[in-house]
């Protein structure tokens, strides 16, 4: 491995060593392009090895090409300590006790020079320093369960979280917030829904789409909304709490099994699919928009079922998909496959043999739709009937990611296909619904006069 000091490597590192300067030193650099003075900052590891980063007195950063450097002199030294001011989180009698379980992600973050990205910062004191309004909502305690980026969340983490939730409920907490990166927030929400049943209190998953190192971040408001829903809300389910519109107005509480991240960068990225959300949240409180939810209770009777099987996969069907895709899963010992099929739940004939082979090997195969909205209907066309005859089970209107999580969870408990089928098709918390309400599918198209009028008047 090549040597690197604070991100400097190769040529840049040579130059730094040659002139005996250090990272964080206030340096005068003479170059063929002129003289520059400033503090030498660490460099992001992924950037090239031909530039040195300098913070000028005006606060701006610039890069100096090492090939142009003729001389460097250290004239001072100032190392920065980036720290969110830590203040003790005050206890207010009468406010509910809420626990924030940290997993990583961008809810609170600070700069990481190594990668140039932001890394999570997290403690009640830091959070209070950054979002003092939280103290008016609840008495907050925090625990860092682990620190991973959203994309690295997996079965281990789901199980750990489920157990932690069980323990907190045992201790009598009034609500739980889980801070989480947004990319796989809905996977975790589904997993926790299946693993923590009969919840007496709200479990709120929350993240942020704009990191908290920026003034326009949604993190602070998301945290306030989540704290309100966890401490004061009546809905005792696993929910995702994120912006309703992109404006700083209100959040939506989405049922953990019907929600999906639908935009790579919008604040209002999470949407309930094929149904309507459970509630809206403002700092004033939770406003339910449906009443068929699991209400808050005073007991501690939660069922924690931390099971998960690793050998499950989602196959996203595309035209001309070859059978070897399925074959290789079977050959590698996969026990469950969720197919995201086209239309009502279809795949082409080319892969029929592979499906037969998988079914014969005892692999549990479930069909979902890549349209996301709507039910699997495999009786409508011959293709569907053929597939069912081969052993594929239609998963109703379960979202592909939710079916994947549920199948993994079911396989974690039993290998009996019939038993699995019973688990899969018996809804636990709205992952399969009896029907889809008319307003469960609303994707407005911009440009249409009445939609434009609506957008002009109502903050989206």
């Amino acid at each position: 491995m090549t040597e690197s000091i604070q991100g400097y490597k190769g040529k840049a590192l040579e130059v730094i060593k040659k002139f005996h300067v250090r990272v964080w030193s206030d340096a005068l650099i003479k170059s063929t392009r002129g003289e520059f003075q400033g503090i030498i900052l660490p460099r992001s590891e992924n950037d090239d090895q031909f530039h040195i980063v300098l913070k000028l007195a005006t606060g701006y950063n610039v890069g100096i090409d090492v090939h142009t450097i003729t001389e460097m002199t250290e004239i001072g030294y100032k190392e920065a300590h980036y720290k969110i001011p830590e203040k003790e989180f005050p206890f207010t009698p009468g406010l509910p006790k809420v626990k924030l379980l940290g997993t990583g992600g961008t809810i609170a973050s600070r700069l990481d020079y190594r990668t140039g990205a932001v890394i999570p910062a997290f403690s009640p004191g830091e959070l209070y320093g950054a979002v003092p309004e939280l103290a008016q909502i609840c008495n907050l305690d925090t625990e860092k369960v682990f620190a991973v980026f959203s994309e690295n969340m997996g079965p281990m983490q789901y199980k750990k979280l489920a157990v932690a939730i069980g323990e907190e409920i045992e201790k009598g907490i009034k609500g739980i917030i889980i801070g989480h990166g947004t990319d796989t927030l809905h996977h975790t929400a589904a997993a926790l829904t299946f693993m923590c049943q009969n919840l007496p209190i709200p479990v709120i998953l929350v993240g942020s789409q704009r990191s908290s190192d920026r003034p326009s971040s949604d993190a602070a408001l998301n945290l306030m909304h989540a704290a309100t829903a966890a401490g004061h809300g009546d809905i005792a389910e696993v929910m995702i709490c994120m912006f309703g519109p992109t404006s700083d107005e209100y959040a939506l509480l989405h049922r953990g099994t019907r929600v999906r991240k639908m935009h790579s960068s919008y604040r209002s990225t999470f949407r309930t699919i094929g149904d309507i959300p459970l509630a809206t949240v403002t700092r004033q409180g939770v406003q339910a928009i449906r009443n068929d939810y699991n209400p808050r209770r005073n007991d501690h009777q939660v069922k924690i079922l931390p099971y998960f099987h690793d050998k499950v996969s989602i196959v996203y069907y595309y035209p001309n998909m070859q059978p070897d895709i399925i074959d290789s899963l079977v050959d590698n010992g996969y026990k469950g496959i969720v197919i995201a099929g086209t239309g009502l739940g279809h795949v082409n004939k080319l892969i029929y043999p592979a499906i037969r082979r998988a079914a014969a090997a005892g692999v549990a195969i479930y069909m979902t739709v890549q349209t996301l909205w709507g039910f699997v209907h495999m009786f409508v066309y011959d293709t569907g009937r053929d597939l069912m005859a081969m052993g594929i089970v239609p998963a109703e209107n379960m979202l592909p990611e939710v079916a994947f999580i549920k199948l993994s969870w079911a396989l974690g408990q039993t290998s009996d296909l019939e038993e699995i089928k019973k688990i899969m098709l018996t809804p636990i918390s709205g992952e399969i619904t009896k029907g889809e309400p008319y307003n469960g599918y609303l994707i407005y198209q911009g440009g249409i006069p009445e939609v434009e009028e609506f957008i002009r008047k109502v903050h989206k």
């Binding site: 950037d47 530039h51 913070k55 969110i84 920026r214 326009s216 408001l221 919008y266 903050h459």
Partner: protein, 659 residues
């Protein structure tokens, strides 16, 4: 009872104590005495098709009420890279503003509303910025690092401006001395403000994200005239590239001013360079006034650190006071300023006293709309006698104290009291660091606390962009002619000074030079044609002239062997019909080719008739009369001076004959 202060007299007295000199009477010596120093930050929009960090079009503006959607945001302060909160940021957070963005789909995408990370930096903008940086003889950076500069006023939906240094140092030559530059940065423009009332501020996003450069000088200008000269120079230099935007708002100046013992004050958003001298003059004396005031305060108050205001909520209905407090006011609050007698009516700017410094801050920081305060040194304070008595008894006022009374909604009262305390406390230090808004009358208003380097943060959404030597060389090889050369050229061509600004501001020197060289036209003729005839016609018709066609017109005249003078007749027609072909202009003018000997031989006929039939006895009038008759035929066909000479000669001979 103590004798109340006479506000007007005190204002006049303190104005004299400050040593105020009016602008017209000030000399270089006045400013030297003050220790006047000024620096400039010139913002110039660049002429690119797309915005700096997204592909939305530039230069398309919406009416303030014309929008497709509104988005609501709030801003929170965050830490700088070095782990500090910025003072301005904290102040802006106190104001708790709801910010509304009015977007038009045509000029805004999800980038503008901070719902998507930036796209790669616009290369065209980068190249123009490097070009101008080279013209300023700057050191170009090896790698451009995008930095976030925090703005919590909401003028940028992200809460920060993406900005990057392109070059540092460099200098410009003024008449008497060079002025050095600190840096040139490339940055995205901000939103346009629609309104700012109470806790709600509204912006449009049309201008947001348009590329602009900021050129910053050292504070080396020592008189207002030098500041204006430097501003003109920097503007002309940017314009000389032909790659910057022109028109209203395309160039904006921020001016930094300080005097000995004062501090750097940034005057923002000056849209005309001609306003600068008066603004900086007034600001210099405002600082002087605050320093004079400070001396008085520290003489009376021995321990400024422990000086405290006292305040109470008055048990009096807002409506019971005959003062136009804003509608939303719920309670009346009195604040006592111990030992502050004579301060509130202390001169600060022409027509303004220290109480307006408080009033401005109450508006900006505490969201109390103006008029927002009654105080013990108002000119008409006796009208509030009842209120004054109540305040004095409630707050146990002593002679020598001053008081303020404001009204506001409950939630703004603590901030307002704090704001008054804070500003008064700063009076002991002298001049607080502020950015101030320029007004047309030369005065300025508090805008915000001057931000420091703490508001800078690296942009984690974008990677550094290397600037290799080859790129710089390529730009260097096609740089426009240096501005000092142009200035020398104007002098050599004997172009009147009043034409210079127009020619340089509109970057017309390259085209003038081309015409002079290609067609051997008198430089003075070309320059006055541009800076007088065309300029005048454009003003009159309020329409632009297609300067790009000018060379073609000269070529057309040359090919048809037409004298240059005819062009002046052609200009109004071209302004009205920019796409017209040149032959059609001649038809519209009913212009005909005439043989010059025919024209000259017509001279005697007209002179005879003017002298005989028309009985005009004054010689000059006679010449003009004949000239008028012949002019339409002569224009473009013969040299007008020659025909003039011929008429004059003819008349002189005729006169002699008649005698």
């Amino acid at each position: 009872m103590q004798k109340e202060i006479n506000a007007d007299q005190n204002y006049q007295k303190t104005l004299i104590e400050t040593g105020w000199v009016c602008f017209e009477e000030a000399t270089a010596e006045t400013y030297k005495h003050l220790g006047f120093k000024s620096g400039l930050e010139i913002h110039q929009q660049l002429q690119t098709r797309e915005k700096l960090f997204c592909h939305c079009p530039t230069g398309i503006y919406q009416d303030f009420d014309d929008y497709d959607a509104e988005i609501v945001r709030h801003m929170r302060p965050t830490l700088s890279e070095l782990g500090e909160y910025d003072g301005t940021a904290l102040m802006e957070f106190k104001t708790r503003k709801e910010v509304i963005y009015r977007i038009k789909n045509r000029t805004a995408c999800t980038y503008e509303v901070d719902d998507t990370p930036p796209f790669p930096l616009n290369r065209q903008a980068l190249e123009i910025a490097i070009e101008i940086s080279l013209l300023l003889k700057q050191y170009i950076v090896g790698e451009v690092h995008i930095t976030r500069k925090q703005y919590l006023d909401g003028s940028i939906p992200t809460g920060f401006q993406r900005t990057a240094i392109i070059g540092i140092e460099g200098a410009i030559p003024l008449k008497n001395k060079p002025i050095r530059l600190i840096q040139l940065s490339l940055e995205e423009d901000s939103c346009r403000e629609v309104s700012d009332i109470g806790h709600r501020r509204i912006y449009t996003t049309d201008r947001l994200g348009m590329p602009l450069i900021e050129m910053v000088t050292y504070p080396e200008m020592l008189t207002p005239a030098e500041v204006a000269e430097a501003a003109h120079y920097l503007r002309f230099l940017a314009r000389s590239t032909g790659k910057v935007r022109t028109g209203i708002g395309a160039a904006r100046e921020d001016v930094n001013v300080s005097i000995t013992g004062g501090t750097r004050i940034e005057i923002k958003g000056v849209s005309h360079i001609r306003e600068i001298p008066l603004l900086v003059h007034v600001e210099a004396f405002r600082q002087k006034a605050l320093l004079t005031m400070r001396e008085k305060l520290v003489a009376v108050i021995s321990d400024p650190k422990s000086w405290q205001t006292r305040s109470c909520i008055l048990d009096l209905d807002v409506k019971a006071v005959a003062y136009p407090f804003p509608e939303s006011s719920q309670k009346l609050v009195a604040v006592l300023l111990p030992k502050f007698k004579g301060i509130l009516s202390h001169f600060t700017q022409p027509g303004k006293d220290f109480s307006s410094e408080l009033s401005d801050r109450l508006k900006v920081i505490s969201c109390l709309e103006k008029p927002n305060l009654i105080h013990s040194e108002m000119a008409n304070v006796e009208e509030f006698d009842h209120l004054a008595k109540l305040i004095k008894s409630r707050l146990k006022a002593e002679p020598g104290d001053a008081w303020i009374c404001f009204a506001g909604p409950d939630e703004d009262i603590p901030t307002a009291i704090e704001t008054i305390q804070e500003r008064c406390q700063l009076a002991f230090e002298g001049v607080p660091r502020e950015t101030r808004k320029s007004l047309a009358d030369g005065n300025t208003l508090f805008e915000r606390v001057l931000p420091g380097a703490d508001r800078m943060y690296p942009d984690t959404d974008s990677a550094p962009i290397p600037v290799p030597e080859e790129d710089i060389e390529q730009i260097r090889n096609s740089l426009p002619v240096d501005l000092p050369f142009r200035l020398a050229q104007l002098k050599e061509w004997q172009v009147p000074q009043d034409c210079w600004t127009y020619l340089l501001r509109n970057n017309l020197m390259p085209v003038a030079e081309q015409i002079v060289n290609d067609f051997e036209v008198e430089p003075l003729f070309v320059c006055t044609l541009l800076a007088q005839n065309i300029k005048g016609r454009m003003r009159l018709k309020k329409k632009p002239f297609p300067f790009s066609k000018l060379v073609d017109i000269f070529a057309f005249l040359k090919d048809n062997n037409i004298k240059w003078e005819l062009i002046k007749e052609m200009i109004p027609i071209i302004i009205d019909n920019p796409k017209i072909d040149f032959q059609s202009i001649l038809n519209l003018l009913s212009w005909k080719k005439e043989i010059s000997s025919d024209l000259f031989s017509a001279v005697p006929y007209f002179t005879k008739s003017v002298l005989k039939d028309c009985r005009i006895d004054c010689k000059t009038s006679a010449i003009s009369w004949v000239m008028g008759k012949l002019r339409p035929r002569a224009l473009g066909n013969v040299d007008m001076q020659e025909i003039f000479n011929a008429i004059e000669k003819q008349i002189t001979t005729q006169e002699k004959k008649n005698d």
